[in-house]
C-alpha cells in the first residue's frame, strides 16, 4: 500500500485486460465482502468481441464504479446524499438517500443499482472500510490473474503510477467529462 502520510491519496484502479480470464472471482469476492443483494453486482466483466470471423478475438475488461473526479451522480443527487471524499472516493450517505434513482440514470458507466430491500441506491465504494484499515479492496486481493491493480496515483512510487508511466492506457467515455479513476492498459 502507498504511504498515506505524505499527502491526500488519489485512489485509482489500473486494469490489465490481457490478464483477465473472466473467472468472475472479483464479483464473488465483492458480493461476499459487501453483502451485495442477490441479482445485483458492484463490479463486472465487460466482454467485447473485436473484428469478425475469421479474424476475431474476445476481450475482457473488469469494471466497477469509476469514482469520477467530476461525478455526474453527485451532480444530480437532489438531497446531497452522494458526495465526494477528499481522497476522491464517491460515496453515499444512506441516511440522506431517498431512493429516487436519478443517479442511476446519470451514471454513464451504469455502475449503480437500486437496493430494493433498503430502498436506497448503492454501488462500489472501493471497499472504503478496508481502505481506511489499510487493506486493498476485496476484488484486488482475490484477482487470480493480477488484472486489477489498485493504488495511490499521487504517490509516484506506487505500482499504479509506475504502470501508467510506462504503459499506454485509456479511460472509458472520456467524452462524458467525468475524469474516471479506472485506467485500462493497452496490450
Amino acid at each position: 500500500m502507498a504511504d498515506t502520510t505524505k499527502k491526500t491519496p488519489r485512489w485509482v484502479f489500473v486494469m490489465e485486460p490481457k490478464r483477465c480470464i473472466d473467472c468472475e472471482a472479483c464479483m464473488v469476492a465483492c458480493s461476499v465482502e459487501n453483502n451485495v443483494p442477490i441479482g445485483h453486482h458492484r463490479n463486472w466483466i465487460a466482454h467485447q468481441t473485436k473484428g469478425s470471423y475469421p479474424d476475431v478475438s474476445l476481450f475482457f475488461a473488469p469494471e466497477n464504479c469509476h469514482h469520477c473526479t467530476n461525478p455526474p451522480c453527485e451532480r444530480v443527487c437532489p438531497t446531497g446524499a452522494t458526495y465526494r471524499r477528499e481522497d476522491g472516493l464517491v460515496l453515499i450517505d444512506y441516511d440522506r438517500c431517498i431512493g429516487c434513482r436519478y443517479c442511476i440514470q446519470a451514471c454513464p458507466y451504469d455502475a449503480r443499482y437500486f437496493d430494493e430491500e433498503r430502498g436506497v441506491v448503492d454501488k462500489c465504494t472501493f471497499c472504503v472500510h478496508r481502505l481506511d484499515a489499510g487493506q486493498p479492496p476485496a476484488c484486488v486481493e482475490t484477482c487470480v490473474g493480477g488484472a486489477r491493480h489498485f493504488g495511490d496515483l499521487n504517490d509516484p512510487e506506487s505500482e499504479v503510477s509506475k504502470l501508467l508511466a510506462t504503459h499506454q492506457h485509456y479511460t472509458l467515455y472520456p467524452e462524458a467529462g467525468t475524469g474516471p479513476a479506472i485506467f485500462y492498459l493497452v496490450d
Binding site: W44, G99, R101, G119
Partner: protein
C-alpha cells in the same frame, strides 16, 4: 422489476442497462405537464380579451392543482424510501434538476391553490374567512370573507406570478431528462422544449375536454368562443411540437455516434410503433387535422365555427393520449440509451 435490453451493442456486454423509472414516473411527468398547461392557459385567459374568457380562467383555476398533486403522490410512492421524501426540502442542490424541480413544484402547488381559492364561486369563497387586520390574527371570531377588491387584484397578481412558474414546471419535466449526458436519447435541450409545448398542449386539451363536458350540462352554445380560443391555442402548440420534433431528429442524427445510435430505439427499435403511430399519428397529426377542420371556416373568414361536440371530444382526447405516450416513449427509450464503448468503433 428492471429489465435489460441491448439494442445496438452487438459484441459488447458491460453492466446491464435497466429500466429504473417506470409508469409512476411517466404519470408524474404527464400530470405535472397537464397542471402547468392548465394554469398557464388560465393565467393567459385572465388577461386576454378583457374578461371575455373569465370562464376559462375560472375553470382552469379550479382544475390546475389536482393533476399535479396526483402526480406528486405517484412520485413519492415511487421513491425507495417514500417516508423520507422530506429530505428533498432540507437542501437546495443547484446542480440537480430534481432538487430545483421539487422546490418549483412546491411553489406551484402553493400559488395554484391560492389562485383556486380566489376563483371559487362566491358562495363557496365566502365560507373562507381571513383576518382583515394584523390585530385580528389571533381572534378568528373577527375574521371576514376575502374582500372583493383583494380577490380582483389577487387573481391578476397570482395569474402573473404563476404564469412563469407554470412554464417552469412544464419545462422542468423535460430538463429532468435532458440534463443527463449519460443518456444520449435525452441529452438535448429540445427535450425540455418538447415537454414544455406538450405540457401546454395537454393542459389546454384537458380544459377543452372539461369545457365540452360541462358545456353539455349548461347551454351548449354558451362555451363556444371559449372553445374557439382553446382549439386555436392547441393547434398552434401542436405545430410548435412538430417543429421541435423535426430538429430533434436532425440534431440527434448528426450528433455523436452514441446519439445517432440512440435514435434506433424509435427507428426500428422497440418504441417505433408507440412513437410513430401513438405520439406522431394519434397525438399530433390527427388532432391537428381535426382542429384544422374546425377552424377552417374562421381561417377562410366564412363565419364562426359550429359547435361540434364530437370533434372537440375527439381532438382533446387524442392530444391527451398522445401526450401520455410521448412521456412513456421518452422515459423508457431514454433509459435504454447509453454511450457506446470505444472499442466497438
Amino acid at each position: 422489476m428492471p429489465t435489460t435490453y441491448d439494442p445496438f451493442l452487438q459484441g459488447y456486454s458491460g453492466s446491464p442497462t435497466t429500466i429504473e423509472w417506470g409508469l409512476l414516473v411517466v404519470i408524474y411527468l404527464y400530470t405535472a405537464g397537464i397542471s402547468a398547461g392548465i394554469f398557464a392557459m388560465s393565467g393567459l385567459a385572465t388577461y386576454l380579451g378583457g374578461g371575455r374568457y373569465r370562464r376559462i380562467a375560472r375553470l382552469g383555476a379550479l382544475l390546475a392543482p389536482w393533476p399535479l398533486m396526483l402526480g406528486l403522490a405517484m412520485l413519492v410512492f415511487d421513491l425507495g424510501r417514500p417516508l423520507h421524501f422530506w429530505l428533498l426540502f432540507t437542501t437546495i442542490q443547484f446542480t440537480s434538476p430534481m432538487s430545483i424541480g421539487s422546490w418549483l413544484l412546491t411553489l406551484f402547488v402553493i400559488v395554484s391553490l391560492l389562485y383556486l381559492v380566489l376563483w371559487l364561486p362566491r358562495p363557496l369563497r365566502n365560507l373562507i374567512r381571513v383576518p382583515q387586520r394584523v390585530g385580528d390574527l389571533l381572534a378568528p371570531a373577527r375574521w371576514q370573507p376575502i374582500p372583493s377588491r383583494t380577490v380582483r387584484i389577487g387573481r391578476g397578481v397570482l395569474a402573473a406570478v404563476g404564469f412563469p412558474i407554470s412554464l417552469g414546471v412544464g419545462m422542468y419535466t423535460g430538463v429532468l431528462l435532458g440534463a443527463i449526458p449519460a443518456r444520449p436519447f435525452w441529452n438535448t435541450p429540445m427535450v425540455a422544449q418538447l415537454f414544455l409545448f406538450s405540457a401546454m398542449s395537454t393542459g389546454v386539451a384537458f380544459l377543452l375536454l372539461v369545457a365540452t363536458l360541462v358545456g353539455d350540462l349548461l347551454d351548449p352554445a354558451a362555451l363556444e368562443h371559449e372553445r374557439h380560443l382553446l382549439v386555436s391555442v392547441d393547434a398552434v402548440l401542436i405545430v410548435l411540437e412538430i417543429f421541435i420534433i423535426i430538429p430533434f431528429f436532425l440534431h440527434q442524427t448528426l450528433n455523436t455516434w452514441s446519439s445517432a445510435a440512440s435514435l434506433k430505439l424509435i427507428l426500428g427499435g422497440p418504441f417505433t410503433a408507440p412513437f410513430w403511430i401513438g405520439v406522431i399519428g394519434l397525438g399530433l397529426l390527427l388532432p391537428l387535422a381535426v382542429e384544422g377542420y374546425e377552424l377552417f371556416p374562421i381561417i377562410l373568414k366564412e363565419g364562426a365555427i359550429k359547435y361540434r361536440r364530437q370533434l372537440s371530444l375527439a381532438s382533446s382526447l387524442l392530444v391527451l393520449i398522445g401526450g401520455f405516450l410521448l412521456r412513456y416513449v421518452f422515459v423508457y427509450a431514454g433509459q435504454l440509451s447509453h454511450f457506446l464503448p470505444v472499442f466497438a468503433r
